[in-house]
């Protein structure tokens, strides 16, 4: 498949290999993150006037889901502020590696049985169940952000590398899943060079950089899922064998290796969450919003159990039945659970489209709050940029629904092409498009449901 190595562009090579640009961006992100925590605790309790709520759940979320993930995959992870303090502590330095071994921590290996994203699935689900409170209460947002950074520091102290990012971060799990659609990838140029390189400095590190913080050997990497795009391998490879490729989007979805049930379930958790949020947050049903907000009440338990049943049982259950129907009509014995895992990857584009379409519903409506919170982050009467008193103004309200429809249609088309490719990849000679109709119908039905919820 066609690839273009962006490292051939001298400016990009300099920007990606030099540590300073990354450090400056990360330091700014960390400052913003700490300011958000502070605003959460000492700022106004009015959510739409608080820096923490608007900066994190409107500005950051918009950039993440609409720009960073679709275009750069795990690009956000390379500048994410959450692991920074723990990483500095672990390395014993802020910039490059020191000649003398330094740093703090036990550097233990993460247990083998947790080397998957099930814990991330659970972490995301827990946050999702409380998300209506987290999204609207500055103090709760502050507590969650602080907890994330403390857990990351604790994890870095006990375990090696960026264990928190790879196995625990509730956001990292879905960024990894959706990074498969990205048109950017970090890969080796020639695997035989890696095979012949005995030291594997990309994994162990050298004076030019750290060993892969994500614990990956780039020579064996075939998908974006676990690559944090930190560019350490670009710095440590003595053979200049690392490429940052521009590639056809979604290439990883057709990769036969590395399809796992934990990631497959992530696809359902994300798709299901987008549907539930579209019902609860964008829908006109006030009772549902109140139930989701009243944590611990009888109504909230009803909401929480319905959420879990929909995301973990109903959506994957129906999909499993659809796949099972296909498995009975394909030549050769194929285990339905294996096929379930494989076909679930086809829902990745639709899931991402669902999240973008859902996010469009509230981002352009509420982004105008950003101007006032930037001018007065704590609502203490400051007016740093002269916009503290700017009024709420929804943007593009005439056009957003049409864009949402377009995004969902593109997601559906993309998903169905992936369904067809997955269907044909093992039995191409006997491929029949009609055999996939249950999964195609499933995807179309979910899309129509989302259309109704978001623009109907």
């Amino acid at each position: 498949m066609v690839r273009y190595n962006l490292i051939q562009i001298p400016v990009l090579r300099t920007l990606l290999t030099n540590r300073w640009p990354q450090l400056i961006i990360r330091a700014l992100a960390l400052a913003g993150f700490l300011l958000a925590i502070l605003a959460g605790f000492v700022g106004t309790p009015v959510g739409n006037r608080n820096f923490a709520i608007i900066m994190v759940w409107i500005a950051w979320w918009a950039l993440l889901i609409m720009v960073a993930v679709p275009l750069f995959g795990r690009g956000w992870c390379s500048i994410c502020p959450i692991p920074i303090p723990g990483e500095w502590l672990q390395n014993g330095t802020i910039l490059g590696p020191l000649k003398k071994k330094s740093g703090f921590g036990l550097k233990m290996r993460w247990p083998n049985k947790f080397r998957n994203i099930w814990l991330q699935n659970v972490a995301f689900t827990v946050l999702a169940l409380f998300s209506i409170v987290i999204l609207t209460q500055p103090r709760i947002t502050g507590i969650v952000l602080l907890a994330l950074i403390l857990i990351a520091v604790g994890t870095s102290f006990i375990f090696e590398r960026r264990t928190f990012c790879r196995y625990l971060c509730p956001v990292g799990g879905f960024i990894g899943l959706y990074s498969q659609v990205s048109p950017i990838e970090v890969r080796v140029r020639d695997t035989s060079v890696c095979a012949g390189h005995k030291v594997k400095t990309c994994y162990t590190g050298n004076e030019d950089g750290y060993g892969c913080p994500w614990g990956i050997f780039p020579g064996g990497m075939v998908k974006n899922t676990n690559c944090g795009t930190c560019m350490e391998c670009l710095r440590t490879c003595p053979y200049d064998n690392i490429a940052v490729n521009l590639r056809p989007p979604g290439t990883d979805l057709l990769q036969l290796r590395g399809r796992k049930l934990d990631e497959a379930f992530k696809a359902f958790i994300m798709l299901g969450s987008a549907v539930v949020y579209s019902v609860v947050l964008i829908g006109p049903w006030g009772a549902l919003k109140t139930a989701a907000f009243a944590v611990g009440s009888f109504a909230w338990w009803g909401y929480a159990l319905s959420f879990l049943a929909f995301v973990y049982l109903l959506l994957p259950g129906i999909f499993y039945l659809a796949v099972r129907f296909i498995s009975q009509n394909v030549p050769g014995k194929r285990k339905p659970l294996r096929m379930f895992t494989e076909y679930a990857y086809a829902l990745v584009p639709l899931g991402l489209a669902a999240w973008i379409a859902f996010s469009l519903s509230f981002i352009f409506t509420n982004v105008s709050y950003l101007w006032s919170v930037l001018s007065d982050p704590f609502s203490w009467g400051w007016n740093l940029f002269g916009a503290a008193n700017s009024s709420w103004t929804p943007y593009f309200s005439k056009y957003v629904p049409a864009v949402q429809v377009l995004v969902l249609i593109v997601g559906l088309f993309w998903s169905i092409t992936v369904i067809q490719r997955i269907s044909g990849e093992r039995t191409l000679s006997e491929y029949k498009p009609w055999r996939t109709w249950p999964v195609v119908a499933y995807s179309a039905f979910v899309t129509v449901g989302l259309l109704w919820l978001l623009v109907g």
Binding site: V46, G47, N48, R49, I132, V133, T136, Q137, V280, L281, I282, G283, P284, W285, G286, A287, K289, T290, F293, F362, T365, N366, W392, P394, S397, K398, V400, P401, A402, V405, L408, I409, V410, L412, F413, W414, S415, I416, T417, I419, Q420, R421, G424, L428, S429, Y431, P433, T436, V440, S443, A444, T447, V448, L451, W452, V455, G456
Partner: protein
Amino acid sequence: MRHKQTRKQIIEIFPRQSWFWSLIGVVSLGIVFVPIPSTFSQPVEKTLRVEASTFEFTPAVLSVNPGDLVTIELNSTDVVHGLYLDGYDIQITAQPGQTAYLKFVADARGTFRFRCSVSCGALHPFMIGKLKVGPDLLLWRGVGMAVLAALAAVWSFHSWSAIT
């Protein structure tokens, strides 16, 4: 080797299939732009009373016909609430216990969200209702496009696999 051959064949086959993508393009343009005939009664004056309370509008879904002269009577039962109508970009604010009036001609068709425009509490950004003006053409055109996209995606791969 087989993979390489397949790719070569795709490159060869797709120009020959330009008729297919042209057809998809024409049909999608039809779905998006062809006017759908619909009959409505003569425009009338319509008054809709809406109660606003934390964090919902009652009724939350309003329906009028295109061209109606609509008056929304917004009555707030607890704190100050507002009503901003997406697409029309108009709004009013109602003090507790008082009624505010929003008068407009429903000249844009479709389904439009209306939302509270005054910070009224934690769930304020999600206090949302819907105004339906005639049939929801955007939704139906979207459903049509979804069906077309599904068929096109299946057919495009079918054509590709048929030659491999």
